[in-house]
Every structure is written in structure tokens, then in C-alpha cells.
Symmetry: C2
DNA sequence: CGCGATCCATTGTCGGACAGTAGTGGAATT
DNA sequence: AATTCCACTACTGTCCGACAATGGATCGCG
């Protein structure tokens, strides 16, 4: 009578090595800013081939735990930034065929928090950046340039000014998927003025540290996106992402 | 007079290959569920060595765009699930030394939305799972078992029942970091009953499709965590993650 | 048609090789 | 002595070839 054998999950070495390196970083054994040992050194320590180490490093690198400085050769340990992770989350949302309504619902919940926290925590430098973004947005609007980039930047700056990094990490991928779609709305309505006005009100509230006002204006601002969608006869149930090729 | 030369960013081939594969998947040229060509085939198509392809595959694999089925050999294209991405986001939060307060603020904004949407959208099957989770939680509480896993599961189930995948993707990493810390609170107060009661009320509201009630109870439930922290004399400004080793 | 034995393709890992270059340290210059 | 220059080293990125293990397909058998 053979006893029930657990299917031996022969985990590939590169994944074990990757976890090992990742864990050491998480546990702080290799401090942020420090350089990773060379591939050869790692291979010798862990008794595996350099190729295996390299595959493991790709994994760790992709997680943003480690990166090359400027054009450097060595890999340095680093705390992943929202930009590192946003791409992956976006890919997930695209392949899961998430709709704009789903993104909007989350934004409606989180952006007001970002605005409120920014009113509480924004530094002068962050306020200056917001003011600068506002000027450039006004200029772009006057000259009928594309506002998409600037709008994304605005919301990113607000998230940054909130001082809440969990919020930044959550918001970044959603923003980058959602706001580009606004150009469609912008193209059909002439809603640029409304957008600019809302930005202005939000920035003012952040400047004067009026949390309630900042939240309220951001709520209206996000709600406006939905109204814009409806007025422009666009469907919020459209899935995000590029046109998929269907065979 | 040498003209200003752009520093030639000689991007390594494995990264180009990884982007190429990833882009094809995102664009739907390789459909979800389909198998990836063999390493050899990819190497020939892209005119690079198999080693290079393998390093690229590690990157794509880590993004959750591709995975092995059961113990299979081939890689199948797949939509990344929240579990794939949560680990990376968690690592980012730990290394950025995010505090429990930051996580809590986001939860306070997003969990009520999850509960509300669940009251609107939960299927019978999802409701059954919630009911089952409730029973197991009650049992664990009676027997003084650890509630952490069950609490995480509860919130995960609510997020799932919301039908909003953007919300799930945002919530998963935060939940998995935050709720384990609750065992500390639970250990000092005897707050298990309060937790169970809140879960019960939330599940009831979801069953009866009472969106307002579901939101309200979830708001109280999340607020309770903060109260618990304060009552237990724990500091919400503590950073998340395992004890870091400091040299 | 179902079932097991057999074969093949593919993955995981290893070893070695080599070009290009970032980083190092020492030599030459001011 | 400080600085600039240069040669050298070590390391990364890429390629090649090889082999064990095994999942998946094929074939033959009942």
C-alpha cells in the first residue's frame, strides 16, 4: 500500500535562488543602496551555474528590488517605485479585460483621499510642482495641445504630495490606464475648462490646507469624468487597453 | 565641434525580447490560454541564443503573463492574478517602510467600496463562500485559534464578490500586509467577538443586497482596527514587514 | 477502442568561451 | 600633492554545445 505521495514539486533552481536573494533583501541583510555580489560570486556561494544565477537575477530585477544605476554595471539594491510595478499591474488589468467603470469606481474612492491627505501633508516643493503643472496645463489648453500627459502628471503629483506611499502604489497603475482615455472625452466635449478649474480649486485647497475642500473638489472632478463619458456617448463598460487582435 | 551625443542606451537583448513577448501578449497576438512557442523556436525567430530567450522568459513569467499548468512543461499565456502581483507590491511597501497608518488609510477608502459593490454583485456561490468563512471563523474563535488567515480570506472574498478586478488588484497586497498585524491587536484585546459580529453584519447586508448597510458596517469594521491599535497601545506609525536586520 | 510501452521534444542545468566595457589603480603630468 | 591619463582587471551580456530528466505524443498491442 503506497502512501499518498505529494507530487514532488521540483522547484527549479533559478526560482529558489531568486527567492533567496529577494528574501535577503526584504529582510534587510543586503541594505538598500548596497551593491549585489557579482554573478560569479553568487554562483559560487549558492553552488549553481552562472546561467542559473542570471535567470534568478532577472526575476529579482523585474520585481524592482535591484537595478542598474545610470549606465553602470553593478546592480544596486533599491526599494521598488510605483513606476516599476505599475506596468505589471496594468498588464494584468488589460488581460483581465477590466472596464473603465471598474477603474473609475476605485478612483472615486481613492483620489479624494489623496487630495485630502495632500492638503494635510504637501511640502512647499510639492505645491510648487503642482502650480507648475497647472500653468503648463493652462498653456496646453490655450494652444489645444494634448492634455493627457499633464493630467496624469497632476494626479501623480497629488498622490505624491499625499505622503502615503501605499496610496501611490495603488493609484499609479489605475491612473495611467484611466486618464489617457480622457482624451476621447476631451475631444468630443470641450471640457478642458472644467478640468482646469477643478485642478485650480484642488491646488488652492491644498495650498490653504483645507482638507475638506480638497476632498470635495476631487470628488467632483472624478465624478465629472463619468458625466463626460455619458455626455460623449462613450461606454464605461469598454475594456481598457489597446485594441486586441482577434483571430 | 562634436554635437551633443545621446548616451547610447544599449538595451540588453533579453530585455528587448521580454518586451517583445510581453507586447505580443498584451496586444492579444498570443491569446490567453495559448501555449508559448518553445525556447528554441523563439530563439530562432528572434535570432538570439536560447540563453537570452530564457532570461527574457523569466521576466515575462515573473509578470504573471505566462505560467506552467500543474506540473506541465509548456508555458501558457495567462492573465496575471492579484496573487502574482501582490508579492511584488508588498516587497515595495516593506522596503519603502510604509506604515500601518498608510495602509489603513487606503483600506478605509477602498474596503467600504468593496462591501458596497459586493452587495450589488455577489453571486450565490460567493455568498456561500462568505458564509463558510464565517462559520470557520466562529469555530476558530471558540477554540482560540489564529484568526489571521481567516480574516485575510474574508476580506479577499469580499473583494472578489465585488466583481471589480481593479479593486481586487489594489486591495490584495495591502490586505496581506495589514491584516496579519491584527493578531497583535487580537492578542491584547479580546476583540474577536467584535470582529465576528462585524463580519456577520457585512455578510448579511451582502445577502440582502443592502449596499448602504454593507458599506456602513465595513466602515465601522475598518475603523475598529484603528481603535484596536490605540487601545492596545500599538503605534500605527510602525513600519510594515518583518524585523529588518540593521548592521 | 482503450491501454501501456516507446520515442521525441523540451526544459533545466551545466561548462566554457569571448567581446565590450565600467571600475580600478598606477603612471605621468601639472 | 592633486589631477589627468592610461592600461589592466573584473564583470556583464551573449553565444555555443552538451546532457539528464521528463512531459507529451506516438505507436503497437490486446
Amino acid at each position: 500500500m503506497a502512501l499518498k505521495l505529494e507530487p514532488i514539486r521540483n522547484e527549479p533552481a533559478y526560482r529558489i535562488v531568486a527567492r533567496e536573494i529577494g528574501d535577503r533583501i526584504i529582510r534587510g541583510e543586503i541594505a538598500v543602496g548596497e551593491a549585489l555580489p557579482s554573478e560569479m560570486a553568487l554562483a559560487e556561494q549558492l553552488k549553481v551555474n552562472r546561467s542559473t544565477v542570471r535567470e534568478a537575477i532577472r526575476v529579482v530585477e523585474q520585481n524592482g528590488l535591484v537595478r542598474r544605476r545610470d549606465g553602470g554595471k553593478k546592480l544596486y539594491v533599491t526599494a521598488p517605485r510605483s513606476a516599476d510595478l505599475a506596468k505589471g499591474v496594468q498588464a494584468a488589468m488589460i488581460l483581465q479585460e477590466v472596464t473603465f467603470r471598474e477603474l473609475w469606481e476605485v478612483l472615486q474612492a481613492v483620489e479624494p483621499l489623496a487630495a485630502e491627505a495632500s492638503a494635510r501633508n504637501a511640502t512647499q516643493e510639492q505645491i510648487d510642482k503642482l502650480a507648475d503643472n497647472f500653468e503648463r496645463t493652462r498653456y496646453a489648453l490655450d494652444n489645444r495641445h494634448n492634455l493627457t500627459e499633464l493630467d496624469i502628471e497632476f494626479h501623480h503629483l497629488v498622490a505624491e504630495a499625499s505622503g502615503n506611499r501605499a496610496l501611490q502604489l495603488s493609484l499609479a497603475p489605475i491612473s495611467q490606464l484611466f486618464y489617457p482615455a480622457f482624451y476621447k472625452v476631451f475631444a468630443r466635449l470641450n471640457a478642458g475648462d472644467r478640468l482646469l478649474f477643478a485642478h485650480q480649486k484642488i491646488i488652492e485647497a491644498i495650498k490653504t490646507k483645507d482638507e475638506r475642500e480638497a476632498r470635495a473638489w476631487m470628488e467632483r472632478h472624478i465624478a465629472d469624468f463619468k458625466r463626460g463619458y455619458e455626455l460623449a456617448n462613450l461606454d464605461m463598460e469598454t475594456v481598457v487597453g489597446p485594441a486586441r487582435s482577434e483571430p
